[in-house]
């Protein structure tokens, strides 16, 4: 298999409300940043892929404006996934594996501020049986948290500890929204309290991928090493919560196995767990030992720009590998209610070869 690496990562500051800028305006500094890191221009990139959602933007074809921001002239080879940018990275990775391109730009963005995110996300449920009931995303996560507590997998105190850990880790992340001390807070939907739930954010992120010697050359510009993608896979589960075991995440485990995550221990894991209970669950599914550094960025509990939060996990994990803070990192992204769809990538520094 062709060697492909993450060679650059950039993100915006994630904020509750960015109504003073359009999506393209929010994205452009991030694109400039990530390209600047590699010395490439948009026209030099072999393939471009983005992730976003029209339902957040409130208009059809919202990604066309973002493409204008990229400056797709002369015309570019480009595609888009209507989901988290982690899947855009997957599409770009496959494209590079075919050998048709040597570099790829991947970006994702989401602005939740124009609407009520909890209600917007109800529209991604089964339109005939579930969506008409408007069960919101926090209520569905609470259902899962309750199942985990009832199964003896976790309790409210352990969940609060996850929240505190995330906010403490985010102290070192200038892009995060929530940092420092946070009390357990009031119940939002029992048993989830304020601290168990992610912030609602606007934000963007971008990654540059490159293959083989191109990756080595681009990474050298900043005296970093490439974060080689050793494997990547994603899997989906049934949509109906009634046919799923909400205390387990078989799709995460399967994706991790196919990505090679269990072949050797990882030292770092960036998990896309918007809710504390989901982080507990993912740690179990991925068999992460206590000595693994989990979410050193603070994770989605500290900054949660929907549609970019998964790509940010890949970017954060890669950035740690690039600067030598990790030799073998796992990155995870999720989509859908209660961790329905999950992606796992394994990233290594040069020493792993």
């Amino acid at each position: 298999m062709r060697e492909v690496a993450v060679v650059a990562f950039a993100q915006s500051d994630h904020v509750r409300d960015s109504s003073e800028v359009s999506e393209a305006e929010m994205l452009m500094p991030v694109l400039h940043d990530v390209l600047e890191q590699t010395g490439l221009k948009a026209r030099d990139i072999g393939f471009i892929c983005s992730g976003s959602s029209d339902y957040l933007a409130g208009r059809a074809f919202s990604f066309t404006m973002a493409l204008d921001g990229v400056g797709a002239w002369p015309p570019v080879a480009e595609s888009h996934v209507e989901t988290d940018g982690a899947w855009a990275l997957y599409e770009a990775w496959v494209h590079l594996l075919t050998g048709d391109a040597d570099t790829a730009l991947v970006y994702a963005y989401g602005k939740s501020s124009p609407g009520a995110l909890r209600e917007v996300l109800t529209r991604q449920l089964d339109p005939y049986y579930l969506a008409p009931l408007w069960p919101d995303s926090v209520a569905l996560a609470a259902l899962q948290a309750r199942a985990l507590i009832d199964a003896g997998v976790t309790d409210e105190r352990a969940m609060a500890a996850v929240a505190a850990g995330a906010r403490a880790a985010a102290d070192g992340n200038p892009h995060a929204h929530l940092r420092g001390e946070v009390p357990m807070g009031e119940y939002v939907v029992h048993p989830l309290r304020t601290g168990d739930c992610p912030p609602v954010d606007d934000g963007a992120a971008a990654v540059v991928l490159a293959a083989g010697d191109t990756a080595r050359r681009l990474a050298r510009r900043h005296s970093r090493r490439p974060a080689w993608i050793r494997g990547m896979d994603h899997r989906i589960e049934a949509h109906s919560l009634g046919v799923r075991d909400l205390t387990d995440s078989p799709s995460t485990r399967l994706a991790a196995r196919n990505a090679g995550a269990f072949q050797r221990p990882v030292d770092t894991a960036e998990l896309h767990a918007p809710f504390t209970s989901q982080q507990v669950l993912l740690r179990r599914a991925l068999e992460l030992e206590e000595d693994v550094t989990v979410n050193p960025s603070g994770g989605a509990l500290a900054a949660n720009p929907v549609m970019a939060a998964g790509l940010i996990r890949l970017g954060e994990a890669a950035a740690r590998v690039q600067r030598g803070a990790s030799d073998r990192a796992l990155a995870h992204a999720t989509s859908g209610p209660c961790l329905q769809q999950n992606l796992v990538a394994v990233l290594e520094g040069e020493e792993g070869e």
Binding site: M1, R2, I48, S53, D54, Y55, G58, R59, A60, F61, F63, T64, M65, L67, D68, G71, A72, W73, P74, P75, V76, A77, E78, S79, H80, V81, E82, T83, W87, E91, V94, H95, L97, T98, G99, D100, V120, R123, Q124, L125, P127, Y128, L130, A131, D233, H234, R235, I236, E237, A238, H239, S240, P250, S251, L254, S335, G336, P337, Q340, Q341
Partner: protein
Amino acid sequence: MNKEPVAVVGIGQTKHVAARRDVSIAGLVREAAVRALEDAGLSWPDVDAVVIGKAPDFFEGVMMPELYLADALGAVGKPVLRVHTAGSVGGSTALVAANLVAARVHRTVLTLAFEKQSESNAMWGLSLPVPFQQPLLAGAGGFFAPHIRAYIRRSGAPETIGSLVAYKDRRNALKNPYAHLHEHDITLEKVQASPMLWDPVRYSETCPSSDGACAMVLTGRDGAARAPRPPAWVHGGAMRSEPTLFAGKDCVSPRAGRDCAAEVYRQAGITDPRREIDVVEMYVPFSWYEPMWLENLGFAAEGEGWKLTGAGVTALDGDLPVNPSGGVLSANPIGASGMIRFAEAALQVRGGAGAHQVDGARRALGHAYGGGSQFFSMWLVGAEPPAA
């Protein structure tokens, strides 16, 4: 780079109609998927991954419907990748699926695209709210009509060309059991007498709003060897995008379309598309786009595309048949329309197009575009495997 050759071994479509009130969205996509699997002689466990595309989620009012469709697509426990590149999405989706096979990430991939437009109103789903777009620019026709007028002025084409295309495609559709519009009493005079919607686009020169789905099974060399029916082989595929509007954009013949075609021809070793390609399935939602795309795709010199149409070259029995299926003008489940073009091209080189089969078709081009003529996806398929 040593890529796995990609073969189309299964194709399935639904009968495209104005409203499929008898099936849910899940029922609609499953119908196409089951037909594609039957055509390939495969069953659900043979599928390693699913790649699904559709145009804006607003068309059905479901955000990221692939999540809810995982069960209907037999995808539980498998990877599902969702693509959305506006009107070109059906083509882009097939290309993303083909890459999974070409890169040897998966052996057999089910790819599917759909639109169930009856769940909402595409006309207004496409009329973007102020301030994203100027007011009263109703629907896609309102956006494209000025570009058509620019083409007519630039090329000097007679005003009858648009109606010739519509008449041809609607008659071709009579031979295609899956086409939405079966207008048995169509005449050229009726097309020309139909109401003017967006000058110069008449009602009968406009695509319908359809419910429908299209699916394909893609596999590699081993899978093709086991297939019960002849495969279609992918010889070239590409996507190109450019900004929506900017000073210097050629809305009549966008450079992204020209570049995309050039890249596909390069991969397929085509140097003279007019002679080397036997049949074209082209994304023509408004009739005038046939002569425009004939030029954009390199089948005619600039300003000359309408002459091919006028001389009957693009008719079913012509020298270069365009849209023997009846095309987008006869069935337009938007998200699926691009994949239908790709699939119909594959049907032609497999010799499986039935009454609208072009005799001896060996190489066919499938073409899709979207957005403000800014997103393009194309593939070229052949009856023979590509040279190693």
